[in-house]
Amino acid sequence: MNKLYKFNSSLYFGVFFVFVLIFLSLFGPMMAPFSLTELLETQYTNGKVLAPPLEPFENASYPLGTDKWGYDLLTMVLHGIRYTVFIALAVTCIKMLFGTVFGLYIGTWKKTPSWVITFENAWSYVPLFLILYFFMKPISFNSSLETRALVFYFIILASVISIPSIVSSVRLKTNELHKSVYIEAANVLGAGRNRLIWKHIFPQLKETILVMFILEIVYVITIMGQLALMNIFAGGTIVRFDPLIYLSTTKELSGLVGQARGNIYGNTHILVVPLIILLFTTISFSLLANGLKNRFQSNYSKSPWIRTGQIQILKPIRKQYSNKRNIWKPSGERLALMGLLLIFISASVYVVVTKDNDVGVKNYSKAKYDIQFEMDKNGVFTTEANILVKNKSDQKWDELIFYFISNVFKRGHQFQSVKGYSEIKMGEIKVNGEKAKYSLEKDTLKINLSEAMKDKKKFNVKIDYEFTVPEEGVRFSKEKENYYLAQWYPMLATYQKGKWNKEEYSDGIETYHTDFSDFEIAYKLPKGYSFISSAEKDPQLKNNEGKVKINKVRDFFVAIIKDMEVHEALANDGVKIRIFTKNDHHKDLKETMNHAKDALSFYQENIGKYPHKQLDIILDNGLFMEYSGVITINPYIEDTYFYRNAIVHEIAHQYFYGVVANDQYNQAWVDEGITEFATSMYFYAGKNQTERHAFSIPYRRMERIASSEPPLGRQYSNVPLNKMKNTGFIYGQPAVELLNLMKDKYRVQGEDVKEVSMQFLSDYYHHFQYKEVDTKEFIRFTKVYFNVPSGYFNRWLDTSFE
């Protein structure tokens, strides 16, 4: 106990807290759960009304509560703390540097000039915050100066006005030391003034100055706080009239306190929360200063002769000159400091790595595919799929669910668009080496897990099967001698919100929803066929055996073709575009290539990096369709306008399907709608067509809905496919409404509708890349982006989430 009592706890706590503060000010905004402009909207869920202001510790997503308007306090604090700490540190550094140097030199003068002393005295009469008040008052309120400029002026002025007091105290101490005998001795030995100051006086003052430095940090924060009570916030004050409110631009801590000053009567937490954080900030520095002072005092002070009520309890720590320090074996305080640094570094790495984890919808099933297949001359594919499935959820799984889409085209299927049929011959299925029971119905492959297996988090699934491809099918199709293998392998379904998210196949829009996965595909083909796929680097054409791989794609498409022409071109960033075609159609290939190249380059410039190294465009009979890195285009249709539009559309899908994922069954509008918008934007912004012309396809879809017989009425865009009345609601409506949003709100972000639209797409893409978006995430992002409430989207999206 006695030993514990002698512990210099304020030093250790001080150091630790200051580390925490520095950490928060570096990484605060990254850790913030919301953005500064995001607000809690009044909600009615499970019979409870959730309305601002929320008290702290009431709601898990708003741990510190919200203010009157619904802004999250924790977010504001995390954004603001860096300003407080940074400004305080900057001011202190400047004033201590100049104050110390001036003080040291003036202190060694023989006689201090009287004007210096008078100035110091006069200066100390006026409270410093008053000087700042009069300076900042004319420039702080609704200032047209930038926040940075205001912070800069604040820092400079706050440092300048407090230099005299530092000079004064350093001067006095220097003066005292300068009279010492050892200085005289050094002087006699020929030391010049600089040597005296830096080698003899400064080392004596080092520790005092360090303590002063830390105390001055607290003092700067105090000045900021005092100003904040007068509604002058470092970084500027936003004034709103009717009612008159003052808001801090930077959300700096004392500003938060100042702007919540009116809350002493009610909703006290809005005031208390930032106040406590501010208190923590100042106390951390105070503790550190106090701890250092204790240490230095215990090292140098003499013991009193009478009882003063103060007992020196700390053991002095003396420098040990005799024994050599072992640098490699630190102990005691050094070890603790290193530990602290280590924690600091690992925590910062953790924060940086996980900062985007709350973006997007979570999926808890991950798969890694390793598939080998061999095709014989009759078009029978013998396949062995090794799939490594990971359960990332905290639930136990009873079964594994895969999409097995090729199974729905078996003989006797009802799909009119599919001419032929497929044959599927299932072999064994093994999970972790054990034979497993399974059922295959329609497109659902359900593998039952044995009791022992349920606890596992990793499953090695091995599926042996044989399949053939239906002639003139949909996506999964055989066109004359060419085989198009789309969704040809068992695709692991997503596991979301505690259950498998697997919907039934239907004709038309895509029904499958898969997460990003890694693929390794080995193939063997009969002679004369070429292998084209989603892979990063496809083999030479006519190479009939090999292995390819790609990471982080949503699906893996394979085309096995015979005798097609190849045309190549380079788009931006060295992305290679290949067009595969036969020559029995009338489309101008050169024009097609230029068009594709132009569209891809436009997106590369305006949205972001294209995710792959090559883009394969296959012109053949069938659907217009996007796969990862590959698109298929039907050159046999007459409508050239649609043909050109579709090429752009599928290229846009490489971004808004290939990289930004979504549930294509329940949230089909997210990729289709945004892709359609991006397509029209290519013509509108990239080709400078008129709005009516560029958006003619979405407009026409909506007109067709409006004039349909019997009338279709209206429908939200975010409906699952089985409830969808018309594809126009999925494709056209979002594109038209997004354009309306841009026209209505572009001023929030910029000067020009086209620029803002492309910037929005780019920011959306970068924010959600390799994440899954649903309506909720889309609204969360967009409403903050354009400063609109959720209700703004009610016209075309159902915003009542469960």
Binding site: K137, Y153, T282, P304
Partner: protein
């Protein structure tokens, strides 16, 4: 003498330029930069001095009215003076009493401990917390500790007085304890102890006498600390003191008059503390 005159001139100029700051600085919203209208300075100073030399303090804007400052300043001046006089003197007495004379007792240690904790908290946080506390107490018990109405009389004064005294007390107390500790390890204390003098005697005759000069030297700073807090307290607690003139206008006349009154108050407080010291010495210590 020369130094005093110098000091007066510097303070005069300092206050006038402070008061003129809101008129000098302007934001140029086109170029997004600061404009300094220094050319206004001589004119502003000239107006002020000519106004004063006419024997009037000038006028200020109150709402839509234009009123003469000298008619209104009296009450406000005395309100602030009362708060300051009481606050600073209380601070000096408390810190000396607890810092030296009864510092050796066990019970005092609790008090010291509280003061030490409070001294780690910036003044403005203490002020806000005190106000929150006062509101909470009123809500719970119905006892009104403070009033935010400017016309509430005595209720309006004692709470601000306490708040004003907190910062100087903490500052002085820290200073006194450190000096007490340092003085106590000096050799003359050893001699006094060896002579068999009582602790009280040593405290009065040896310790206090040697600590006093430090307090005198820091007195200006202590008063400026109290003034700083007075500004804030009067502002946020709606006390109609002298700061009203300073915060409610953009004109140089009321601001400068307010600041000069502040200086005058500081002077009075300084004299009063010195008087207290003088009386104390005359009463208790052999010179």
């Amino acid at each position: 003498m020369l130094r005093t005159i110098q000091q007066i001139v510097i303070i005069f100029l300092l206050i006038l330029s402070l008061a003129a700051l809101p008129m000098i600085i302007e934001v140029n919203s086109v170029e997004k930069s600061l404009d300094w209208n220094f050319e206004k300075l001589p004119e502003v100073f000239g107006d002020f001095i000519s106004e004063i030399s006419k024997g009037s303090l000038g006028t200020y804007q109150l709402g839509t009215q234009r009123r003469a400052i000298e008619e209104d300043i009296g009450d406000n001046f005395f309100t602030s003076l009362k708060i300051m006089l009481l606050g600073v003197n209380a601070a000096v007495v408390i810190s000396l009493f607890f810092g030296i004379f009864i510092s050796r007792f066990h019970l005092t240690k609790v008090f010291n401990f509280i003061l030490n904790i409070l001294s780690a908290i910036p003044d403005f946080i203490i002020i806000i917390m005190a106000m929150i506390l006062a509101v909470k107490i009123y809500k719970m018990t119905g006892i009104r500790i403070m009033s935010l109405r400017p016309d509430a009389g005595a209720l309006n004064l004692w709470f601000p007085t306490i708040l004003v005294s907190i910062a100087p007390t903490l500052y002085l107390f820290k200073l006194v304890t450190v000096k007490n500790y340092q003085t106590s390890s000096e050799d003359y204390i050893k001699t006094a102890v060896a002579k068999g003098m009582s602790l009280n005697y040593i405290n009065f005759q040896h310790v206090y006498k040697n600590v006093e000069p430090f307090i005198k030297a820091e007195l200006v700073k202590v008063i400026s600390l109290a003034i700083g807090n007075l500004f804030i307290i009067e502002y946020i607690m709606n006390v109609s003191g002298i700061t009203k003139f300073i915060f409610q206008s953009n004109e140089i006349q009321p601001i400068a008059i307010g600041l000069f009154s502040m200086l005058l108050i500081s002077g009075f407080v300084y004299i009063s503390v010195r008087l207290v010291f003088y009386l104390f010495k005359r009463g208790f210590i052999y010179e």
